[in-house]
Symmetry: C2
Subunit: 418 residues, 2 copies
């Protein structure tokens, strides 16, 4: 099979479907999603059957129990997928919104209107629910998508795409609005990444090697999520009771997520009164602590932190701790070792809060709150296709609005350029 040709044809079909979708009223898109949700529930037996093939192949290939778990579709998980589709129905459609319109002295008006981006390529690993979530978010925002899941989930993803396409056709829309790459060859990804005539945006969801490969090979814009090396800085004169609660939540609420705290920075003036008790508590909760020399003076049982620790996203019950002389040292540390994901200051000092918010250059900068709050739902933006650690177009949770772009509109009455 000629993979390049297969991908090109998918691209051309996606581009055509995107044009139809861009002019489709919200009601029709929502109707399509309603049918998708219903069909997902009806198709649970077939979906589990196809999924079983992936599980069997995965077992033979020796996938880890955690990987196999992520891969597994149960009736409960299928119901969850149907519900997320229904949640997306309830979100406002961003397409067509005129965000601003202003008059020019010559008498014409200039405005900005939200329109779909066009065709979006999504490259992801393991969890089959991404197939439905991503396709539904793209549909609602008027974008066609080309989905390339992991080879370990190929049967599940093909079956999910078939259900999605049936739903879409049920509402009279072209099935090509959501296509799953039907082959597992690596060449398909390489082909996709250079189809800049057909594809407007690549969103990767996966580990660092995947993202590096995509950056190096894509001629299409990429919006990515890299590390979450998130810091909490406890300032002098802060409410230490509150600081402790926030630190425990930021580390323990879900240690495996990108917005969990990885490094705690503590002002030297409060270190003695704050750190020994908190670290003891963290230890009780099973957290391994790696500290700077000053931390180890206060809690001699703490392991020594290496330079590598400061830049590491543990995604685990590990925390690095550093005592700093002041807020400037904390901000310098964050600028040097952070990943510009989520950084927090705990302080009662208004000027410090202001400076930290202005000067720390991260997707989310917080005052007196847990870094775990960095999330599209928690922020009130609805479902997200991912969290961007890039600075362009989308920074932080990427929801329906971030799946659109804004064009200029000009309304004249015969206006000319002088």
């Amino acid at each position: 099979m000629d993979i390049g040709k297969l991908m090109q044809e998918m691209g051309v079909r996606a581009r055509r479907a995107a044009r139809v979708l861009s002019g489709t009223p919200t009601g029709v898109k929502d109707r399509a999603l309603e049918i998708v949700a219903a069909k997902l529930r009806d198709s649970a037996p077939i979906l589990r059957e196809e999924n079983a093939k992936d599980i069997e192949a995965g077992r033979k290939e020796g996938l880890s129990p955690a990987m196999l778990d992520r891969l597994t579709l149960t009736d409960g998980r299928i119901e969850d997928m149907a519900r997320s589709v229904e949640e997306i129905i309830s979100l406002p459609d961003p397409v067509g919104e005129v965000t601003r319109i202003w008059n020019r002295p010559a008498g014409f008006r200039v405005g900005r209107m939200r329109v779909p981006i066009g065709v979006i390529g999504i490259i992801y690993e393991s969890r089959p629910n991404v197939t439905i979530d991503a396709a539904a978010l793209c549909l609602k925002s008027g974008n066609a998508c080309i989905l390339r899941g992991g080879s370990e989930a190929i049967h599940s993803n093909r079956a999910l795409a078939a259900v999605f396409q049936e739903g879409v056709k049920g509402a009279g829309l072209p099935e090509d609005v959501a296509q799953v790459v039907p082959v597992t060859d690596r060449a398909a990804v390489r082909a996709l990444l250079t189809m800049d005539e057909q594809v407007d945006l690549i969103i990767p969801r996966g580990g660092k090697p995947l993202i590096r490969m995509i950056l190096e090979n894509s001629t299409i814009p990429v919006i990515k999520h890299l590390d979450g090396v998130c810091h909490t800085y406890v300032d002098a004169g802060s409410d230490l009771e509150m600081a402790g609660q926030i630190c425990l939540n930021a580390k323990l609420n879900r240690p495996g997520t990108c917005n969990a705290m990885e490094t705690l920075l503590v002002h030297t003036g409060v270190a003695e009164g704050f750190l020994p008790g908190l670290l003891e508590r963290m230890k009780e909760e099973g957290v391994q602590i790696r500290g700077c020399p000053a931390t180890r003076k206060l809690a001699p049982w703490v392991q020594e932190a290496t330079d590598e620790d400061w830049g590491t996203e543990y995604l685990d019950l590990i925390l690095s701790v550093k005592v700093v002389a002041d807020m400037d040292e904390a901000m310098d540390h964050i600028a040097e070792y952070g990943s510009a994901h989520t950084d927090v200051i705990i302080t009662e000092n208004h000027r410090h809060a202001e400076r930290f918010v202005r000067e720390v250059d991260s997707a989310a900068v917080m005052v007196n709150a847990s870094s775990r709050l960095h999330d599209g739902f928690v922020f009130g933006l609805g479902a997200e296709i991912g969290i961007s650690t890039d600075k362009l177009h989308a920074r932080g949770p990427m929801g329906l609005e971030e799946l659109t772009c804004q064009k200029f509109i000009v309304l004249g009455e015969g206006h000319l350029r002088e």
Copy 2:
């Protein structure tokens, strides 16, 4: 010389300067730009001297008279540069603006704040004034820049950068906020394009081969300007007097610019009453016409348009003309052959205006206006670093606001994730 090392060092210095600049008040940035404007005027003799070296080398290399003209710095052009710097002083500083802030049910607030992008790499050809314009726009928006001009302008660009850096130092800012790559080796561009740790955005200004090379080699996001194949569609029942004025302006006002009309589409119902007179007038103005068969029936002297014509950006006194059955055919033609830059409908029909504005997917979509109006100044946005034909982050004129990104800010009082 180790070019890779040289570029890395420039990147590290730029990153450091960007951090200083991101927290610099507007007044200090404006003061720096005032000193730059004054120093530009004072340095005219030296600038012309350095420029003369480029002109001489260009003559020896056999550059075309048009190229040599673009390269030349005169006292008038130096004064123009100083004035554009002063115009940038007068524009509002976007940095720090909180564009929205909202309450969440749990009691914390979430907002979005504009911050600089960071370090911007600008790769351009011939015109030395880009060095000053780009550096001034980046400075005002809080970004450090690495400027890589054409090798034919290296002496001029180095001299201009020296003047800019003197001005910046005069206001107490680090000179590394604007650095010109001091060597002409191609390897410097390749190195720049993969410095994704140090550089946040690449903006190329130049021909298609340059932009293709950049897309294929960059691991950094690129915002580019490709073609302007701009259409004007004259609808049935439109004001033909106004339509004629708009068409003449769109073609003749400055035919060499990206927003000039390249293709005229005319509804079959008005073609007979509209085209022969307009085309005669265009011919008088020296425009060569290439038409579809229906056009040639109405004006037999017109040359036949080939399929290649429809996709060509002439940037010259050439116009392709097609008679279409209706607005749908016009929109299909624009979708197939256009470059999504600027497309115009001339109509009195409200529904057609609405549909055209919604459905045509271009950076600027206009009703009853000349495509030449697509410009940052004309839109009221102030100076622009270029017009983006991309869809992500910036679409259309890219001014100070588009040189920033928005981070999330969260203001809590001990809020945790449930």
